[in-house]
């Protein structure tokens, strides 16, 4: 019961915070800080320009141009949400904030530093993190890794810097798990990628504190196309966190990232992301992990904000006894679509996957679960469990589930569970008649719905999610 109280106290503290924190805390925007932009639209010249500015080796330039060809040859996918709002012509694909990259916050240009300070990044780094990368629009502006980990051979910096410093290491992993040919948005990323992190954890190195990259998109009608690679070498252990925000604009922005995670034999990797885009962002990342023998991959994701999100983190279980779990929380507010899910591909015997997806739809917000479970022939005794829970707030909101199973080995055992709960005027009025405001009542219901997953995820993440959900509920105001 002692633990019980501290959770309650935590909740109380959060409620207090709810009253003092406003959405303006992250929806503010700075003046245009870019010192260089490739302008609007995308063509071969733009791609070559990006590569030139970055003084990239020739292999990377060629990969970019190849990816551009693939991007141009692929149609915009129509099997999911409506993507017609993406303004390809008027998007600027590369915006460079400043020349410098630094490992000292004091050297970061004032206004950009202020932004990250407002978002609490330097403070968090000091308290909780083994290392931190901060990206502003297209480029990483800051990266730092505690010396103890640097001495053990850990590499953590923005990918651009890594291409320069560790080209061979990058080459081994770049676009292996997610080739440009995977989908139109992956191809786009391949052509214009900029920023993102490169994290390499050597054999046997176990990092007990998380490492974080924070992405801040500032410009209007811009795209952010970071590419992140995490390599957990044999027997290592790492927790990598990503956070993202963007100001709110009338014109749509595009975020199309690639995340590749390689979990080698006996290694453990955890990837946590809290995405909190403003309502003008199309969020279309491709995230995938390769999980080798006896290794473990954990995806923990919270998807808030954005206009449309399509996100299906995938785990390729390549070695015997590889395991993966995927825990995703999606919140679809009014006028937004969350098309999210997970993929587990069992390629070896005794592999296990677990997918837990929780979605919340508010007003006309639409939450869709789209998942794939594949068990290849020869992947004997594979096990998988998929659980999708949906909560509908208000009597008109909708949730859809599209699970897809491809099972080619008869020894596989798998299960699907799904539940849908609806919260309407009755429930809200009942709580309000006891003194809770509408916002408090609905955020309480939402947090209650998420309680079982909140218990499984890291405390800092749970606190951040709690806070963001409350803000989100607060922002919508009239519910029910």
């Amino acid at each position: 019961m002692v633990v019980e109280y501290s959770r309650e106290e935590e909740l109380e503290r959060l409620v207090h915070e709810l009253k003092t924190v406003k959405t303006s805390d992250w929806e503010f925007h700075d003046k245009d800080n870019s010192v260089y932009s490739t302008g609007k639209g995308l063509n071969k010249k733009v791609v070559e320009e990006i590569s030139e500015i970055k003084k990239e080796p020739d292999w990377m330039r060629r990969l970019r141009l190849k990816a551009l060809e693939i991007f141009e040859s692929k149609p915009v996918p129509t099997w999911g949400p409506d993507l017609s709002g993406i303004d390809w012509e008027n998007t600027s694909y590369y915006n460079r904030p400043d020349e410098r990259k630094t490992n000292n916050w004091d050297e970061v240009p004032d206004q950009i530093k202020d932004t990250f300070t407002k978002l609490g990044i330097p403070e968090m780094e000091q308290k909780y993190l083994a290392g931190s990368v901060a990206q502003y629009d297209s480029e990483g502006v800051y990266h730092n890794l505690k010396k103890v980990w640097e001495d053990k051979g850990v590499v953590f910096m923005d990918l651009d810097s890594a291409v320069q410093k560790y080209p061979d290491l990058v080459k081994d992993y770049y676009c292996r798990a997610v080739p440009a040919s995977d989908n139109k948005f992956a191809a786009l990323n391949g052509a214009v990628w900029s920023g993102g992190s490169f994290l390499y954890v050597p054999k046997g190195v176990q990092i007990d504190m998380p490492l974080q990259t924070y992405f801040r998109m500032n410009g209007e009608s811009t795209g952010q196309f970071e590419h992140t690679i995490v390599v957990a070498d044999e027997g290592s252990k790492v927790h990598y966190i990503e956070g993202c925000t963007a100001p709110r604009y009338d014109k749509n922005s595009l975020h199309s990232a690639i995340v590749e995670i390689y979990v080698k034999k006996n290694a453990k990797a955890r990837y946590t992301s809290v995405q909190n885009w403003s309502k003008s962002v199309f969020n279309m990342p491709t995230k995938r992990s390769w999980v080798d023998e006896n290794a473990n991959m954990e995806w923990v994701g919270g998807s808030l904000g954005s206009k449309v999100t399509m996100l299906y983190p995938s785990s390729y279980l390549r070695g015997p006894r590889a395991t993966a779990s995927n825990l995703n929380i999606s919140l679809a507010g009014p006028g937004t679509v969350k098309d999210t899910g997970a993929k587990a591909i069992h390629l070896a015997p005794y592999t296990q996957s677990k997918i837990v997806a929780k979605s919340i739809s508010i007003e006309d917000g639409k939450a869709i679960y789209r998942g794939l479970l594949r068990v290849n022939k020869g992947a004997t005794d594979a096990k998988s469990r998929v659980q999708c829970d949906a909560l509908l707030i208000n009597d008109e909101s909708a949730s859809l589930t599209f699970p897809h199973d491809e099972i080619y080995d008869p020894t596989a055992t798998f299960s699907h569970e799904a539940s849908v709960g609806r919260i309407g005027t009755e429930e809200l009025t009942y709580l309000r008649s006891r003194g809770l405001t509408e916002d408090e009542a609905s955020s309480m219901i939402v947090l209650g719905f998420l309680d079982d997953v909140m218990r499984e995820i890291p405390m800092e993440f749970a606190v951040e999610m709690n806070r963001l959900i409350k803000l989100e509920m607060n922002k919508f105001g009239a519910v029910g």
Partner: protein
């Protein structure tokens, strides 16, 4: 003295006029009974008083110590001191009873310096008093509770949240004789000259345990008769026909 004054109240739901003309005045330290046949609008009155958004007030006023409540939100009315024990309490999945009550208490009594530990200790004692064990603290509000358990939890909420005007809507339904006695006991204990009660009831059963000083009879959305407890005794004998005829 705190006063609740309902005047010429009329309300509809989905365009259907349920309440047509309801007036009564209550003071702290009084127990009132609202009786009437099925479909008279008794439960509607409860919902309208707490500001349920499905109901539209078409006429009249509800004043608490002179302050008009008609335009106020449900939570504002709760803060003003109103409390409705629902006839059919609503289940809210995933919201823990203890967390809910603690948050509600903080809203209603922002100046209280009660520590969390003390609050939970009191919650445990009160659970005990209404005949429920401590495990209810960590269960979702009313979810999977039996009808009788839900009613006990309504009384528990009253005890914890400490409202000034309590409306009990058919609090006796779903309770067996012993449970009813227990609940009536707690209601009596909570009653004081600071607290007013409006007991909505179909039968006179609970009124044997708690004697109201004032009885209002609601028929077809109108208060048609008022008086002392003798009216409720007559209804026990003769039903409502004699009032309708009157």
């Amino acid at each position: 003295m705190t006063t609740l004054e309902v005047k010429n109240l009329a309300a509809s739901i989905n365009g259907k006029q349920i309440l047509k003309d309801v007036s009564f005045t209550m003071h702290g330290g009084e127990i009132h009974a609202l009786m009437g046949p099925n479909g008279a609008g008794k439960s509607t009155l409860g919902y309208v008083m707490i500001g349920h958004p499905d109901y539209v007030v078409t006429h009249g006023s509800i004043k608490l110590d002179g302050v008009e409540l008609i335009d106020k939100l449900p939570e504002e009315r709760a803060k003003a001191g109103l409390f409705l024990a629902y006839q059919t309490p609503v289940a809210v999945q995933g919201v823990k009873l203890s967390t809910f009550l603690r948050m509600a208490y903080n809203q209603l009594h922002p100046d209280s310096k009660m520590k969390i530990q003390d609050f939970y200790d009191e919650l445990k004692r009160n659970l005990n008093k209404v005949g429920l064990d401590e495990t209810f603290m960590s269960r979702s509000v009313n979810e999977g509770f039996s009808g009788g358990e839900r009613k006990r939890v309504e009384i528990l909420q009253m005890m914890m949240l400490k409202p000034r005007f309590v409306i009990l809507d058919e609090i006796d339904s779903g309770l067996d004789v012993d449970a009813l006695k227990m609940v009536a006991e707690e209601i009596k204990k909570y009653f004081s000259d600071q607290v007013g009660f409006l007991i909505i009831t179909h039968y006179q059963r609970i009124l044997k345990n708690i004697e109201p000083g004032f009885v209002h009879i609601l028929v077809d959305g109108k208060v048609v008769m008022e008086g002392g407890n003798d009216i409720s005794l007559r209804i026990e004998e003769d039903g409502y026909d004699w009032i309708r005829g009157a």
